[in-house]
Symmetry: C2
């Protein structure tokens, strides 16, 4: 039988180290965590959960899984333009989850805590007879009400996206072995992007006051741009040919053209999708240069409602039509 | 088959109303919730989860369940002396959970939101093939570092508890039908206390600056007083006869003397257990009178380590010995 510590020992061994250095976490020894905010800042809070068998396969590497769990939450903070402060973790674990799993999981959290300057503030560990359920609540800070919203897009604004899109959805197929025939390097690159997205935290913070609306791409480009359109009361037109694809995604589409739809509409990219008054393009270019980050203009906001993803001839891209009416 | 809305509709219908009136919840339409803090307050965050089959029976009333979920989190805020601000909710629900369940659940949250002046700030809804998992992260505010901690108890301090103890653990037995022979009214009273604890939010806030240490009774008196003793580096002596029991709990113990141990050591009471410099007794009495709340002195803090629960003859209460060594 696998080694299994008691709950107190598990917390002391695996979780307490994650709260080290964060004074307000009170060493996880009190009933709640305290965040001291000098001046008059705002606190931004978000929560995202992952369920075994739904969001990841039972044999997923817990080190990588922990990092993804934290990163999808950080991506939400980024989409709000908030600076990461701390997070709370709830784990519902069945008895079969052994210490080594939790240790790897905590190590993954520690790795990304260091990378993103965030620490564990508190949490709850409960048992379950069902699949693993992992939930993080991330807290970030903003200055007053200076945050990014979905609702600020205006007709004439340009639409931008960071990095490349489609890698998340294609990466899921790659991880499932559904891209047979594609070069191994491309399969590995796509799967890696699915397993470990890169939240655009630094850019998100600096888009405050520059972007008119923002969201992170978790549902997919049409779905998430649709959120911006509805919240802002505007329409959007995207040029499919402008949507940035990675070399691996391009190779996948060349291999099977039907995958273009997956690339354009798939989710799980955790890139930032945002709108910008056209006269701020130069400021954005400078910022992107500062951060050494690719940002690509993919379309324009218009009046009315609806979303169109158009090919080079101005026709709706096949398979994306369903997304254009909402 | 039971009625079942799509996820978006479920959120719009059941959860959005819970965010109404809380400006920073942004109508649950953004990636995260924003809390604006005027001046320089601190934010207190805590999280507690409940799993079907572990923390409650599958046929539990979702209205009552929601209120308990919120209340156990509010109890943690109370134990820190924080004022409730907002909360985030994560639900992992299997397909068999129908809309009426979720509607009742949301109604329970709404009821206690109004009662405790807290609102939903955000959350995540995921699916699971296992049991229901419910998780709340509650956020509260405090002034600077003026919070209640477990670590401030000093030799000579008096030990107090709010309300009555033992009802939670006896109530679980009552709800399970294990108290056959006890009067129906007592069974109902105990079960009600188990199903719906009363977090001592108002007292908690006003104990800041008065109590030297505090915790809420969730593990049981010996366990939770043990937490205070370890955190404070002190010992504690409790007079079992001083521990306040409800009429129903007294009746249960009279019916079966072995239940005294359950009453004294059981958990799930969510009363506040706190220590106080002896010269502050009068101030506490005045405060308790203000709040019309029963507080009872049950023992004293001493030097050294360990916890003793003593009967009228000064002997350790049978069955609690195991708790006295830690």
């Amino acid at each position: 039988m696998a080694a299994r510590l008691g709950e107190f020992d598990r917390i002391a061994r695996f979780l307490k180290p994650l709260a080290k250095g964060l004074e307000g976490a009170l060493a996880l020894a009190d009933d709640a965590g305290l965040i001291r905010l000098p001046g008059a800042p705002s606190l931004v809070a978000t929560t995202d959960a992952m369920v075994e068998g739904v969001h990841y396969l039972p044999d997923a590497d817990p080190f990588r899984l922990a990092r993804k769990l934290l990163r999808v939450n950080l991506s939400d903070l980024a989409a709000m333009g908030a600076a990461p402060l701390a997070y709370l973790l709830t784990t519902a674990l069945p008895a079969r989850i052994a210490d080594d799993w939790l240790e790897r999981f905590a190590a993954g959290l520690a790795r990304d805590q260091a990378r993103y300057g965030i620490a564990l503030l508190g949490g709850d560990s409960v048992s379950t007879e069902g699949p693993v359920v992992l939930s993080v609540t991330a807290l970030g800070r903003a200055e007053g009400d200076r945050v990014l919203r979905r609702s600020g897009a205006r007709p004439g604004d340009a639409i931008f996206v960071t990095g490349t899109l489609g890698d998340g959805a294609l990466g899921l197929k790659a991880a499932r072995g559904e891209l047979a025939g594609l070069a191994e390097a491309h399969i590995a690159a796509l799967a890696a992007r699915y397993h470990l997205p890169t939240p655009r935290v630094a850019l998100g913070r600096r888009l405050v006051g520059l972007a008119s609306a923002a969201i992170d791409v978790s549902d997919g480009l049409p779905g998430d741009l649709g959120h911006i359109c509805r919240a802002s009361g505007v329409a959007a037109r995207v040029q499919a040919a402008s949507v940035p694809l990675s070399d691996a995604a391009r190779a996948a589409v060349a291999h099977d053209p039907a995958l273009l739809q997956t690339a354009l509409a798939g989710g799980d990219d955790y890139e930032l999708l945002f709108t910008l008054p056209p006269d701020r393009r130069a400021a954005l270019a400078e910022l992107a240069g500062d951060l050494d980050l690719q940002v690509t203009e993919i379309g324009v906001i218009g009046e009315g409602e609806g979303l169109a993803v158009l090919d080079a001839e101005g026709r709706a891209v096949p398979g994306l039509k369903g997304w254009s009416h909402f």
